[in-house]
């Protein structure tokens, strides 16, 4: 069932101050629309990278949506995150085409290199590792996506190399 995702081990993170004022334009735009809950949550996640606890409170107060409804929706859809994530999210595809072409090797190589498990974030908050189902580039399987960039026909070593290079290029 979908809720099982919540049980996965989350990396503990220190609470950071969340600037709730950022939400105002979003609320203004969506407040009166029907069916606005998902766009509100999507908008909030775009702002903060995840949906901080305080945001639920503010959205609930100002848009009149009950907290339980919001939490129900936020935990139903795979897109929503309740924990902060790293600067880059590595999405390793585990769709059918990638699965039969050894996507497991890609995930394992990355897990080993970054010392995190699926769903976790590195200590320096640079990378979060996620597995997803099909990025629509099945002809290039196995595939992973970092930001908007898709990488295909990977091996474990290549995937690790790409990740190291991104980190290197940003540290310089």
């Amino acid at each position: 069932m979908r809720i099982t995702r919540l049980n996965s081990k989350q990396t503990e993170t220190k609470a950071e101050a969340v600037d709730l004022r950022l939400l105002d334009p979003l609320i203004e735009k969506n407040k009166a629309k029907k069916g606005n809950l998902i766009p509100l949550l999507q908008g909030a996640q775009d702002l903060y990278g995840y949906i901080p606890r305080e945001v639920f409170g503010k959205l609930s107060d100002e848009c009149g949506i009950s907290l339980s409804d919001m939490f129900g929706v936020a935990t139903f859809y795979a897109q929503f995150r309740l924990q902060p994530v790293g600067k880059h999210i590595i999405k390793v595809c585990h769709g059918t085409a990638c699965h039969v072409q050894n996507a497991k090797e890609i995930s394992e190589a990355i897990e080993e290199s970054l010392r995190i498990k699926d769903g976790e974030t590195t200590e320096d908050r640079f990378y979060t590792l996620e597995s997803v189902a099909c990025l629509g580039c099945c002809s290039l399987a196995p595939v992973m996506m970092i930001g908007d960039q898709t990488y295909g026909k990977l091996t474990g070593n290549e995937a690790v190399k790409i990740i190291k290079n991104i980190k290197l290029s940003e540290n310089n």
Partner: protein
């Protein structure tokens, strides 16, 4: 005639590096002031040869394959500057027998009529290839709603989202429901992991989907349209947004659409939030309404009470893309293709262990074997073809000996699989069928919305049994238990997700029972995929004594000295597979 150079910039092309190729060619053109026009298009289906660059000059059309930056320089130098096409890089041309000619020539392109031929961000390109002529004809010839519905009915078009329900019937029902507000929805959630037909159509020809929706809206008197598109397809969403804006500017959407007084039809995009079950139509509607995507009981069907409780027609991307062609060419022209009960063409996304993995459109009635071998070029690396998976998590695996099955709804259903939306994942002898069944069940278990007990708990129990089988702890009665659970889940679930979730297990048991038995009885995985069932040993001939496996073994199960044969202590080995993947000399043997 002016020479054109066109780069394919679909998601698959971009992932293969087409963006860089495009920039390179652009830079060359600007620096040297070269005499050609540089254009963009989307995926033509040959994903396995991306990046693709098409050159059209006085002599004809040539498509070059695998054009990375270096090759781009070479091709432009030779072909444009010296008028000397490089034959060995050309994958398709109508001038001589190129490597992939048969791939294009054995297809019938109706849905994909424009994909790879037009710039998807240009409405003029679309209109030059009869775009929006279908809707204009309807308006000019004053065709009634009933006329349009009759044409679609007569064409025999059936829904391409998986169910195969006659589209004309659906429209008829929606038209019969009276209401101030009515909606058309385009299902672009494409949840089947391993399928990418809808993505390619949206990225390559977004206007054809819009036009199909507009025609449907006209036929049922809809006032609003929604495209529910998965968020994993950012390029498709971008191009749809551009297309909607252009359609507005041309008066095709918005106030008095197509000049029809009082018809203010508009379309907006709703991004999905990542839930497979939202592909199911009632869950999709709940999701648009901003709720958890939980399916509702039918009836009432959406045609009677759908979005915001108003009559709603919901069709798949590919279904809509067929519509303008049918209106323009007539129902008879469409029904000419296909079999008695499945008319027209079907787009398939070929993936997995197949040589040419990409997108093909074939007339219904072609055999699966022809799709895989004639179009798909057979199996990669000369391996043996074992099975093909159709229909994703709701479908099943069709074994090699049934590959003469033809693609039409009824023939595929007879095998226990379903036609589905068109994902075809090809498997060879190195794919373990128990592992595949486990993969799908793990998927449906995670994606079950949790409403029905049998779907929520039953899939979990089935998964546990499959896990134990693949871990070497299978029990004698496990196959029977799986079957019993499967039928209970099918019978006691509300929506299609639960009703079909056991299909991958049932079809693999039906056709590959021996593999299940090998796992359970002999504790062996014939395809050598399930690690706990494998034994790792060192090949004495091949081992060079390089110490790599020894150093990497987390269980310290390997002993040996430099340049001497290494040994694996079977009592310590945890079967993690690290030695196998680290060894550069292929000297770790799996048995």
């Amino acid at each position: 005639m002016i020479t054109t150079v066109t780069v394919g910039l679909g998601s698959c092309g971009i992932a293969a590096g087409a963006g860089k190729t495009f920039e390179k060619i652009k830079a060359m053109k600007e620096q040297e002031n070269l005499p050609f026009e540089l254009q963009k298009t989307s995926c033509i289906g040959m994903c396995y040869r991306e990046p693709l660059v098409e050159i059209t000059d006085d002599t004809g059309t040539y498509i070059y394959g695998d054009v990375n930056e270096d090759r781009a320089v070479e091709v432009i130098e030779k072909h444009i500057n010296q008028h000397d096409p490089i034959r060995e890089y050309i994958v398709y041309t109508d001038l001589f027998e190129a490597a992939e000619n048969d791939f294009i020539q054995s297809q019938v392109k109706i849905v994909l009529r424009n994909c790879g031929y037009i710039d998807p961000e240009s409405i003029t390109d679309y209109e030059q290839r009869h775009g929006y002529t279908a809707m204009k004809t309807i308006v000019m010839e004053k065709l009634s709603r009933e006329d349009v519905i009759k044409t679609i009915l007569d064409s025999g078009l059936r829904g391409r989202g998986g169910g195969g329900f006659p589209t004309g019937m659906k429209w008829k029902f929606a038209n019969a429901s009276k209401s101030e507000q009515k909606y058309v929805i385009c299902n672009a959630d494409e949840g089947d992991p391993g399928a990418f037909m809808d993505r390619s159509v949206l990225e390559g020809d977004p206007h054809s989907v819009l036009e199909g929706m507009i025609i449907a809206a006209y036929a049922i008197e809809a006032t609003g349209g929604v495209i529910y598109c998965r968020a994993e397809y950012p390029l498709a969403i971008k191009r749809l947004n551009i297309a909607i804006k252009q359609a507005h500017e041309n008066g095709y959407l918005g106030k008095n659409s197509f000049g029809i007084r009082g018809w203010d039809f508009d379309i907006y995009i709703k991004e999905g939030a990542g839930a497979f079950v939202c592909g199911e139509e009632t869950a999709l509607i709940a999701s648009i309404e901003g709720e958890r995507g939980m399916p509702r009981k039918r009836p009432p069907f959406p045609a009677v009470s759908g979005l915001w409780k108003n009559p709603t027609n919901i069709n798949n991307v590919e279904t809509y893309a067929n519509v303008p062609w049918i209106i323009l060419n007539g129902s008879a022209a469409y029904a000419k293709y296909g079999t008695e009960k499945s008319k027209g063409t079907k787009v398939f996304a070929l993936a997995g262990k197949i040589r040419r993995s990409g997108l093909v459109e074939v007339p219904m009635g072609m055999t699966i074997k022809d799709v895989i071998f004639k179009l798909g070029g057979g199996i990669k690396n000369n391996k043996r073809f074992k099975a093909v998976q159709l229909g994703g998590p709701s479908g099943g695996c069709i074994p090699e000996y049934l590959s003469d099955t033809i693609v039409d709804y009824d023939s595929v259903n007879a095998t226990g699989a379903i036609m589905g939306s068109g994902g075809m994942v090809v498997m060879d002898e190195t794919t373990c069928m128990v592992d595949v069944a486990k993969f799908f069940l793990d998927f449906t278990r995670k994606e079950s919305c949790g409403k029905c007990t049998f779907c929520r708990v039953g899939t979990m129990r089935m998964l546990e049994i499959l896990e134990r089988i693949t871990n070497g702890k299978g029990q004698e009665t496990d196959i029977e238990r799986l079957e019993e659970l499967a039928y209970q889940i099918k019978d006691n679930s509300l929506c299609g997700l639960g009703q079909t979730a056991p299909n991958p297990v049932l079809t693999t048991i039906r056709y590959f029972r021996d593999e299940y038995e090998a796992h359970i009885g002999h504790k062996k995985c014939p395809a050598k995929v399930c690690r706990p069932l494998l034994t790792y040993t060192v090949d004495e001939e091949k081992c060079t004594g390089c110490m790599v496996c020894l150093k990497n073994c987390p269980a310290k199960a390997i002993t040996g000295e430099r340049k001497k044969l290494h040994l694996i202590n079977q009592d310590l080995c945890t079967k993690c597979g690290v030695c196998f993947s680290k060894c550069k000399f292929e000297s770790i043997v799996l048995t």
